[in-house]
Symmetry: C2
Subunit: 334 residues, 2 copies
């Protein structure tokens, strides 16, 4: 018999399927050349060294002088454009809109074409996180940017067409409805119990142990009890805070290390699966919330959703969170 589990933070129900359940090994990707086996350079890649004139204007490079290690460029096809000052929201009956202003940048993570965060050193991974944080802080200075989302799409199933390792950051002039809904649920938990639901969750998961993947001084990586898809992972900071922009340098370094550790285990264990990771942080103008907690989600793209998920918002997970976590605990990352 399957189990229906609820994520106590988001209040979302998930069907943990036993009938359709697959063993962790069954999610291993076989049909594609793993990242490390691709060429180290590509003449066609707009992000490879030597092709720096191809992509749009550079916004930042590290180090500032000499050959770069990390570059930030404007997205060539940005979802949102920098506006020229203010903007107005338009309300006309059932139609509501505002101009698509905001900012959308790409972080080229490495000079190397054939790598990814699971293969680099902890320090290199931390550098990417530090750049994301620096850009988010910069985005927060734009008066109309209400919310920032940092994410990476790795591989075609995760929605990218470019192989070269790159993250993205979008600053948007609205707070997404889903973010507000999640804030509301977290606030209710806080008002009921006097506690942050995420603080409670990581503590209980460390005590339980069975869904823990790995941990360090500053972070805990778990497969959530109600993970919505196979190997869906949360990396939660131990210190309470709602705002990724306020993570300390030590936390940024530790996040780089644990993110690289988990992505390295996925790379080795599932043979370079496509994945998305997202940094979930509070809206920019809601700082220091007692009830909200920033964290990182990793979603390996190893299954597909369909009409059931779209029509209900509920997911069917064909892997047992406990089994997925045990599998990843047993994998040695690079």
């Amino acid at each position: 018999m399957a189990e229906i589990r609820q994520n106590i933070a988001t209040k979302e129900w998930v069907i943990i399927s036993t009938e359709r359940a697959r063993r962790p090994q069954e999610f291993v990707r076989l049909e594609r050349t793993p990242t490390a086996d691709r060429p180290e350079r590509s003449v066609f890649c707009p992000f490879c060294p030597g092709n720096e004139e191809q992509p749009p204007a550079e916004q930042m490079r590290i180090p500032a002088e000499g050959p770069w290690d990390v570059r930030v460029v404007l997205n060539k096809y940005p979802a949102l454009h920098l506006g020229d000052g203010g903007y107005e929201r338009h309300f006309d009956g059932v139609y509501r809109w505002l101009p698509g202003i905001g900012r959308h940048e790409v972080i080229v993570e490495s000079r190397q074409h054939n790598t990814c965060l699971g293969l680099v050193s902890p320090a290199e991974a931390a550098r990417v996180i530090a750049v994301l944080q620096a850009r988010a802080i910069e985005f927060a200075r734009i008066p109309y940017v209400e919310h920032v989302i940092c994410f990476e799409n790795h591989g075609p199933q995760a929605g990218t067409s470019l192989d070269h390792p790159h993250a993205q950051i979008v600053g948007m002039p609205v707070v997404p409805h889903q973010i507000r809904v999640r804030m509301e649920e977290a606030r209710r938990y806080f008002d009921d119990t006097g506690r942050c639901v995420f603080c409670q969750m990581w503590r209980d998961e460390v005590a339980a142990g069975e869904r823990l993947i790995t941990e360090n001084e500053y972070f805990v990586a778990i497969i959530p009890y109600a993970a919505f898809s196979p190997f869906h992972t949360w990396i939660i900071p131990r210190r309470h805070g709602s705002d990724f922009l306020k993570a300390t340098p030590d936390e940024v370094n530790a996040l780089g290390a644990i993110l690289r550790d988990v992505l390295g285990r996925l790379y080795v264990g599932l043979r370079d699966p496509d994945y998305n990771y997202m940094i979930r942080s509070a809206p920019l103008h809601d700082p220091g919330l007692d009830y909200l907690h920033w964290y990182v989600t990793i979603v390996p793209q190893v299954t597909r959703t369909a009409g059931f998920e779209m029509g209900s918002g509920m997911f069917i997970n064909t892997a047992l969170p406990e089994e997925s976590a045990a599998f990843l605990r047993g994998v040695e990352p690079f």
Copy 2:
């Protein structure tokens, strides 16, 4: 410059991208054999006539005697299983769960292997809707079923591995969180304005005309103003009602006709795209709501979502709703 639009019913924001925008013709599917060009029978298909012993127990057939036109069978790999009476929800700290009880059936829509709702007659499409409604009414008699979702996955991008046309119905013992969130937004609109937001929406869209695909005496088919993906369609009943189970026989017939009309236009215009459709209806134990309105959503699977959508709940639509609707208005369905 892109536009950020809000769906006034769901309160979800969507980026309508102009930078990345593609013309309707660019979404035409070319790489796959269209449904009608496949063989009429397959010896390997568990849903084809002659293979009736392959799938699990038959639940219903139409007509009851002689060769069947529509069959209902249990899903071979059900998401949820029929329980044996009651059940309990378990609350243990941050862990909340209940057994995976419910019901999951498959509606084999036709004897013919190489057809789909966009190719059949209006009467045949209506028969499928009538069977879905009959099964939903049956599911509603199960004491612990709180919510029913009817949907179809057409094609591999839409999440099905079986070609033979089939819909599905799932009865579940919880009300999905997303449904509750949408109810709450619709209730707020009603409390503010004294009107059902869906009634307001279809009336305004008929008056505006530019996002209208087609209409009949009982239904209106539109591309929503804040459609979240290319050719995302809503089919809204003109008569207010929150419950698909209470649609009249005339409405069921008219829904069959308009669904077949829209899916036929998609078939011809985009060359048999993969799609999901879902019937969105109120929770079973919330009948006759003033503020909620049942409807059908169609989502052609012509693009892919990625980290941005997952991390924000916001979508980027690379097609202009007005242009998509104009394109479909100009297509002659079979």
